[in-house]
Structure formats: structure tokens, C-alpha cells
Symmetry: C2
Subunit: 335 residues, 2 copies
């Protein structure tokens, strides 16, 4: 397992914020409301992909079909960053940076200590040199050493007040409308929806029900080490990270939480993080569906790929369905 | 965390099988069918405990009550061994011993190697001396080093054919009828039921839906380490054990899988394994209910306690509800 994916994402995000705090693109959130009652996926443009999704759902939920999947085995897993909401920058990294600021406000001495100083001053060089060690220190400082209750309350505060860069909108506004429709469509046909994210599990659980209709107990994510105290009856979180739920870690997380192959899995091009989840899905004994979101819309969202092109290469090799955000999505952001 | 609980249980079970392969008690499975439609818990005798359960469920699910719990937070966790089915001996240990026999049949050379030899010959002394090391070898030999699919198939075969000692009945017959009714009753009032067992997670998942109406993704258990292979697209299981889901490990398992305090939790007196789960439940911000099953019925099941009396002491101190199997349960085993 490549354990540094989350950390590298953090470096990239810090670079983006430092080098590109604003953008030429003012955002283009649509507010169209032309959904037809008969169309379960109104924000998806007509075409082969939309047709394939609907055909898959119909054939696997029709008890007379040879492709029928029993209700209990209709498991759908969705990545979060870049698949359900925007990931430039990654929301959880924005949270960590906000925490650093607030911690330094409460304890000014921190502002002169690394790695706080580097974040507060946008010092890219420090992270380029300090590598994993510096990043682990930030994660440890902002995500561990407190009770679950304390962590939960800072995360809820963040989501209530934070504005996403470039768009200056709430994080909730950065969800992808077509994916919200897809989640609803799958659930209306008996699929149980799980989130399977590289983000840390409790962070995403605070909003999973409200943002996506996914209850906290159906979130799979990166997990810390915990200890339970009989005297306080509270759990404390600490390093090291027990599971990095990314790349090869995603099938492991799915095994621990669900114990079954998903039959529908959605990920995205960006950091090669979802290839193994889609492979694991495709190894199901049932007909399965793999969706890879490609960020190719620089006008409405962002355009980015992978140096290695690994996610698109795997999609082509394995005949996975690639979403062109530009062509396949009529609307991008939540309405 | 006391990491040896599962292992110690294995020693005890081997001792029981060796010293007491049969029993004077022929079993007394009832087949009464006098459940009244109006009574949700027909196998529970009338009394303060049954009344307390019904009052708790009514008050927490009545939206007009000050004790009301929102639907999404109605989380119930049940231990398995000794709480939902009999644990003398522990079913998973019986499985491990069966596997040792079958592995030795397939590869006779194993019969002369330890720890196989000791199990095949009922050599208590070996395990008393070999301690953890010998037991870890058995767990490693019988539970790891194969694909999930292979493990699954041997477990299904075991449950289909194995007869539980003393009663000579299927393992399914060893479920406790009052608990099956309690699970149904809670679910009919919107409680989401989870199993939280010291057993290994995939072992129990094979039967959780069929035996208890609990889907595999709502089972929390002891977990191994897994690795995913891109080439075979399979997960392999290996040592070390990543989480011993017992004692202090139970709140940790609940945190990882659910991320919330349960409001209803049931465990049993026997190996001190459920105290922390009940503490964690009682720390909920909602009204909560803790149930501790006491095995005090030597006639219909088994009578056993703890040298330390820790589970009963904690129950008294914390005002948890103790089930006397003798007095509170009209029937013991599944009908």
C-alpha cells in the first residue's frame, strides 16, 4: 500500500493554496430546475453512459432477469473527494489548516513553532523538504490527542462556517448534483450506499447523512488508533494511523466494514486512489458497474489528471465507465 | 487492552472438551408455542426486567416523550458468545479444532507436528505450557493464509454439519430464543441491530443474517490484517490480529464501525468481555439500556461465573439490568 497518498495530497493542496489562492473562474453553479419526473438522473446528459447506468440498475433489480442481484448483495461504494464533492483543494486539508490557525490564535507561541509556522506563512519549501515527517506532525496536531466529542465539535464548526476557495461557497455547495441523483436512484432500487474515502472516518461522518443520505455507520475511511478509558468512558484518538483507506487500502476497508464485494463502485481520476476499489468491485460474482469520474471541465470545475494516467489506463483496460464531467454532466454542483 | 481473552477462552474450551466431553444434562429444548400476539417477548417471564425493557423501548420511541431518541441514533449492540448463543464451548474454537482435524486428514504429517498433535490428542498440558505462542499458531494455521472465499466456504461447511457438544444439535439450535425476540422487538421500533463479538468478523458474518437478522455489514468483530492483490483481485488474511474486539477493544470496534454510542447494549457474565461496551453505551447522551446475561441455569443450560465477579460487580455499581437465565427466561433455546 502506498501510504503517502493522503500526505502527498496535503502537500499538493498547500501548494495550490499558496500559489493560486484565487482563480479566474468565478464558478458557474447552475440553478436550473428542469428535472422531469420520469427521469431519475436529470443532471446527466443523455448518452451511452446514462443509458448504461439505467440499464444496469434495471437488469440487476428485475427478479426475472438473469442479471438479478439479491437485495442484500446490492452494495454500492462511492469515493468522496473528487467523486462526490470537489477536491481542489481537499476539504479535510482545508480543515487541518483552519485548525492550525485557530490553535495558533489560542496559543500564540505555536506561530513560531514548526510545522505551524510554515502553514501560517504559506511556506511551501518547508513541506517540500520536511516531507512525511512534517505532514504527520500536522495531522497529529490537528486530528489526535482529543476526545471524539471535542474533535466532532470542531469539525461541525468548520462545516458550518467555512467557505470553499475559488467559489466562496459552503462546502455543501461543492457536492456534485449528478452524483446526488445517482445515489438516490441506486437507493430507490434497493442498493445500500457506502462512502469509501481516503479522508479520516469521523471527519466525513459528521456530514455524511446530511450531505449524501449516507448514515455514519456506512462510512469507510482512514482510521486512527483509539483507546478507551474506563474512568471517563471516552475514546481517545492517537497516531499511528491504523488504516489508510486509499489505493490497496480501500478493498481492505470494505472487507472490514462490509465483508462483501460492492457491485457498484465510483471513484475518480486524480491520485490513483480508486483503482483497487473498482478492481475489487469488478471481481464480484454478480454483474457489476464501475464508474471513474474524469475532471475535464476547466470552465465549470477544474481540469486535472494524473502524470501516470493510471486511472484512465485501468479504465480502458478493464472497460470501466468514464464520466466526462464536461460532456456527461448537465449540471455540476448541488442545486 | 487485555489481548489474551480470546486465547484464554480457547484454552478453557479445550479443557472443557477434554475433561467433560459429555454431560449429565440431556438438554431441555422447549417447543412451547404459546406466544401471545400482544406480547413482543413471549419467552421472557413477567417481572421487573421484562417490564423495564418494554418501558424503555416505549419511552424512547414515543416522539412525545422527553426520553425520545431520533431514529438514526437508535443503535443496539449485542455480544454473541454467551449473549446470543451458547459459549460452552465457544463455537469458533470448535471450528478451529474441526479444521485442525480436517487439515491433518488432508496432510497426515501434521498429526505429528505441534500444535496439531496436542489438539488431536486432547493434550491440555501442551497448551498450559505453550501459552499464547501455541494458540497463536492454531489461529494462524486455521484462520489465515487463505483467500476470503476459501475461508468462507470452510465456515459454511462447518455450520451446515457440526453438532454442538452436550446437546448434539446444530449450532443454530443453540441461539437464545428470548434474545431473538428482543432483537426483533427492538428492530420493530426502529433500532438498528449490530453484533459486537470477540469472535473473528468473517466467521460470524457467514451466519449473522440467517441466525439473527443482522446483515454482515452490521457485524463488528476481531479482525486480522489483510492485503489486496491487484493481479488476483482477492484479499488475503494474515497475522497479526489488527483488533481484538473484546473488553476495551469493543468500544474501539464500535467507534470504527458505527461512530456512535449504542443506546442499547447486551453482554454476558463469563469472561469480563462486555463491561466496556456497556460502559460506552451508558455514556450515551440519550437514555440508554444495559443488559448483562447471567448464566445461572445449570439445568437448562450451564451455570458459570467469573472468579473476579467483575461483570456482576460492574452491573451492580452501574445499575445495569442483569438477566437471570433461570428466572427471567421462560425458554432458553431457539424454537
Amino acid at each position: 500500500m502506498k501510504k503517502t497518498a493522503l500526505l502527498l495530497a496535503m502537500v499538493c493542496t498547500i501548494s495550490i493554496r499558496c500559489s493560486n489562492p484565487s482563480s479566474n473562474n468565478s464558478g458557474n453553479l447552475t440553478d436550473s430546475s428542469h428535472a422531469m419526473v420520469a427521469d431519475p438522473l436529470p443532471s446527466w446528459n443523455e448518452g451511452p453512459l446514462k443509458k448504461a447506468i439505467i440499464e444496469y440498475v434495471k437488469s440487476t433489480t428485475d427478479s426475472g432477469s438473469q442479471h438479478f442481484i439479491p437485495l442484500v448483495d446490492r452494495i454500492a461504494t462511492f469515493d468522496n473527494d473528487g467523486t462526490l464533492w470537489a477536491e481542489k483543494p481537499i476539504v479535510q486539508v482545508l480543515y487541518a489548516m483552519e485548525r492550525v490557525k485557530k490553535m495558533a490564535e489560542a496559543n500564540p507561541a505555536l506561530a513560531n513553532k514548526q510545522p505551524f509556522k510554515a502553514i501560517l506563512n504559506g511556506d511551501k519549501e518547508f513541506f517540500a523538504k520536511g516531507g512525511e515527517k512534517a505532514l504527520f506532525e500536522i495531522i497529529a496536531a490537528t486530528h489526535t490527542g482529543m476526545s471524539e466529542e471535542s474533535f466532532d465539535s470542531t469539525v461541525r464548526d468548520f462545516f458550518a462556517n467555512f467557505k470553499y476557495p475559488k467559489y466562496n461557497l459552503s462546502v455543501k455547495s461543492m457536492r456534485y448534483q449528478p452524483q446526488l441523483e445517482l445515489l438516490d436512484y441506486l437507493r430507490s432500487h434497493g442498493f445500500k450506499s457506502f462512502m469509501c474515502t481516503g479522508g479520516t472516518i469521523e471527519f466525513v461522518r459528521t456530514i455524511s447523512q446530511d450531505y449524501y443520505g449516507i448514515p455514519p455507520e456506512q462510512v469507510i475511511g482512514t482510521t486512527f488508533t483509539y483507546s478507551f478509558s474506563d474512568s471517563t468512558r471516552q475514546l481517545s484518538r492517537k497516531m499511528p494511523i491504523a488504516l489508510i483507506n486509499d489505493r490497496q487500502g480501500k478493498p481492505v476497508g470494505i472487507q472490514v466494514h462490509i465483508g462483501k464485494h460492492p457491485v457498484f463502485a465510483a471513484g475518480n481520476v486524480g491520485n490513483e486512489g480508486d483503482i483497487q476499489m473498482l478492481e475489487f468491485c469488478q471481481a464480484s460474482k454478480y454483474p457489476s458497474f464501475q464508474l471513474m469520474v474524469n475532471h475535464d471541465d476547466s470552465t465549470r470545475e477544474f481540469a486535472y489528471g494524473e502524470k501516470s494516467n493510471a486511472s484512465l489506463n485501468a479504465s480502458e483496460k478493464n472497460k470501466w465507465h468514464v464520466v466526462s464531467m464536461k460532456k456527461d454532466w448537465k449540471d455540476i454542483f448541488a442545486k
